[in-house]
């Protein structure tokens, strides 16, 4: 009688409505995207952090050795990508919690806040490095800044490639925050 009374009042059994199934799907997609972002940002940090090129001959430059920490923007890039990778690994736990319990609202808002902060950090690092990579490729005649890529070829290729993983990570973060917002509004 109690069960029928409960059904009369219109209570549906938990966990089987299409909305909760969709929320669970969103949480699983969130988890997968986080894994992809970890690979992207970690790869970028390692690719930039292991750059080291020494030219075999003497050139017009005083230095004929290029490392990532010669430019503070690249150091910032490596640090930012490392912080974001570490954060993503830690947030995997919260993501798994959201898969198991799709109805948690407070933790999703905390996750959105930290995801936005990490998006800003990642974008700042990636675009500062991109500005310097552009300068390294093209130089600037007006400011008399020489394009160092013409000497340091493999260094240049490495730093340009490291940007790709980072920008992919930015795209994934945008999707992650969007997914969390949609999941919040669907409850």
């Amino acid at each position: 009688m109690k069960a029928s009374g409960a059904l009369e009042l219109g209570e549906a059994p938990k966990g089987s409505t299409p909305k909760s199934v969709a929320n669970r799907g969103i949480s699983i997609l969130d988890f997968i995207l986080r894994l992809i972002a970890i690979i992207g940002t970690l790869g970028s940090a390692i690719a930039m952090g292991t750059t080291d090129e020494t030219l075999p001959f003497v050139t017009q430059f005083n230095r004929f050795r290029a490392k990532y920490d010669d430019l503070p923007m690249f150091t910032f890039f490596v640090v930012a990508n490392s912080i974001v990778s570490a954060y993503l690994v830690l947030s995997l736990a919260l993501s798994i919690f959201h898969i198991l319990r799709s109805g948690a609202k407070g933790s999703r808002i905390i996750l959105i806040f930290f995801d936005t902060a990490m998006l800003v950090l990642l974008t700042a690092g990636a675009s500062a490095a991109a500005a310097i990579v552009y300068l390294a490729h093209k130089g600037n005649a007006k400011a008399n800044w020489f394009a160092i890529c013409q000497q340091f070829n493999s260094f240049c290729e490495r730093i340009s490639g490291a940007l790709i993983g980072s920008f992919g990570g930015i795209l994934v973060f945008v999707l992650l925050i969007l997914l969390s917002a949609v999941a919040l509004s669907r409850r």
Binding site: V120, A130, A131, W145, V174
Partner: protein, 207 residues
């Protein structure tokens, strides 16, 4: 005996249920409408704060765009440089900064009506969801423009001995000052955008 007891209880229950259905249904409705009214209050407050923050962000990005777009300095004397005129379009990064901040300002102005709709109807999730989607994209765009310009400004202030890049700020002081100010204004707008995203997410909760 138990059966008869249960049947009498059943009859009593159904009577009570038919009598009490209206209050039973009315009670949750009354509490939910009361809950809706009190919780609608906080959503309306959030929407008003969101509107005010949007106005501040418009001011910040507009100031950054104008400050960067109108920089031009011509040195009155001959220096070791071939060029003694500096303008924002000498640097591709600064051109991207101006364009990106213009886009962000335009988006903010267009999003004011949606913000007003959210104030008037605090429980509509459609406009709020639309706002948060575009706010997230604009956060990324504004941060990209601000930090790439900050990288060039840092180089202009400090130079780089490893790459043999000179610090041009030592010659073009006014240019450097207005460009640095524009970057600062853009970062203020980024912080405001982060607040906007978190506020919209907080107001999106369905209670």
């Amino acid at each position: 005996m138990q059966n008869s007891e249960s049947t009498t209880i059943n009859v009593a229950e159904t009577k009570k249920e038919t009598k009490g259905k209206a209050p039973l249904l009315a009670a949750p409705m009354a509490t939910s409408s009361a809950v809706v009214e009190t919780k609608g209050g906080y959503k309306k407050g959030i929407a008003i704060f969101d509107f005010i923050l949007r106005l501040c962000a418009i001011a910040a990005t507009l100031a950054a765009t104008v400050a960067m777009g109108t920089t031009e300095q011509t040195l009155p004397f001959f220096t070791q440089f071939f060029q003694f005129q500096a303008s924002y379009d000498d640097f591709l990064t600064f051109q991207f900064f101006v364009i990106a901040n213009a886009i962000v300002t335009g988006y903010l102005v267009l999003s004011i009506p949606f913000s007003i709709v959210c104030i008037v109807r605090p429980h509509a999730t459609g406009p709020r969801l639309l706002l948060i989607i575009f706010d997230i994209v604009m956060v990324a765009l504004a941060t990209a423009a601000a930090s790439s310009a900050a990288a060039i400004v840092y180089l202009a202030h400090n130079g780089n001995s490893s790459a043999n890049w000179n610090a041009i700020c030592q010659q073009f002081t006014d240019f450097c000052q207005s460009v640095s100010g524009a970057v600062v204004g853009s970062f203020v707008a980024v912080v405001i955008f982060v607040f906007l995203v978190v506020l919209s997410a907080f107001a999106l909760r369905k209670n």
